[in-house]
């Protein structure tokens, strides 16, 4: 995600942090509600392909500093074991990246519910994760785009990690931003261990653009 080509020193990043203004209480509230609506649509899509009830929780939104990103994501995902993850970029009015994190037991549960063998060949498992990830990211991005009446598109999904410890998936030195808006929603499959976490990252420029979009959204209500 936003992997940087040139090495930037920590001190450069620290300077950039100072320029990010946090959202107001009303902007945060509006964003939370927009993500909540989008999450509901994604949860419904997931429930339909799995034939199971999907338990939703309150979306979590944090402004994170690059040095704290692993700590924050680990606490959100609440999992220090190996995970698999897919990523998709989104663009147009807001640029950022969505990552869907699956715990290994979750991947097995998904395979089972979708009628695959639980002892899935690695290529079939990858395909399954890409399909489920794409479904969730597509629904969330479309939900946000419809609610905010702003154009958003997203790239095809790619596999980011397979059975890898979380702290090797997100490596702060490889991230090109110093500060990111992190939005997390999670989907738990009722009666199963399966849980997937959808994380959306937006860097400085998108944070500022979204501020204006949220203000317009609130003015329209």
């Amino acid at each position: 995600m936003y992997y940087t080509n040139t090495a930037s020193s920590k001190s450069d990043k620290k300077t950039a942090i100072m320029s990010i203004q946090p959202y107001t209480e009303d902007q945060n509230d509006a964003l939370q509600e927009v993500v909540n609506i989008a999450m509901g649509q994604a949860g419904d899509s997931l429930a339909r392909i799995l034939g199971r009830f999907v338990e939703l929780s309150i979306p979590r939104i944090h402004l994170v500093n690059v040095d704290d990103v692993i700590k924050t994501v680990t606490s959100m995902v609440n999992n220090n074991t190996e995970i698999s993850a897919i990523r998709q970029a989104f663009s147009n009015s807001l640029r950022g990246e969505a990552i869907v994190v699956f715990a290994q037991t979750g991947a097995d549960d998904l395979a089972d519910l979708m009628g695959y063998d639980t002892d899935l060949a690695p290529s079939a498992e990858q395909e399954l994760l890409l399909e489920v990830g794409n479904l969730l990211v597509g629904a969330i991005i479309n939900g946000i785009s419809d609610t905010l009446e702003t154009d958003l598109s997203f790239s095809a999904p790619s596999l980011m990690a397979e059975r890898t410890p979380l702290d090797q998936v997100l490596v702060p030195e490889q991230l090109s931003w110093s500060h990111s808006l992190l939005m997390e929603v999670n989907f738990a499959i009722e009666g199963r261990d399966a849980k997937c976490h959808l994380l959306m990252f937006m860097a400085e420029e998108a944070i500022n653009t979204l501020r204006g979009i949220l203000d317009e959204f609130m003015d329209g209500i």
């Binding site: 909540n36 509901g40 419904d44 009830f53 309150i58």
Partner: protein, 121 residues
């Protein structure tokens, strides 16, 4: 006489969206609640003859409110307004005594249809 109506949602903008979608000619006494506990308190104060109820909330969620109302055999007309649009979520809240389910983002016509259906407006 004004009908006591409580709008329950943890999100301020979401409450605003619901309130804006209420029929303008409807004579109500409006109360807002940020979670299920506040909703129950509003009910006990006689402020919730009609309740517009969100599901996903901190402290006490919408499902817990419905369970409490059902268990204590309390009588209020509950309309659930939720982003959780799964058919199963709709079936569950109806089983718990909600009269209607409306998807977020809420539209004026959705609320009007429910209120007309039950002869409330």
């Amino acid at each position: 006489m004004a009908i006591p109506v409580t709008v329950v949602d943890d999100s301020k903008i979401s409450r605003k969206m619901v309130i804006r979608a209420l029929p303008p000619q409807w004579n109500i006494e409006l109360t807002q609640a940020e979670n299920g506990e506040e909703a129950m308190a509003a009910y006990r104060d006689g402020k919730a003859e009609v309740m517009f109820l969100d599901l996903t909330m901190p402290v006490m969620d919408g499902y817990q409110v419905l369970e409490r109302l059902q268990k204590e055999q309390l009588n209020t007309f509950v309309v659930v307004i939720s982003a959780d649009i799964q058919p199963e979520a709709q079936a569950r809240v109806k089983k718990l005594g909600a009269m209607a389910f409306i998807k977020k983002p809420v539209k004026t016509s959705d609320i009007e249809n429910v209120l007309h259906e039950y002869g409330i407006v």
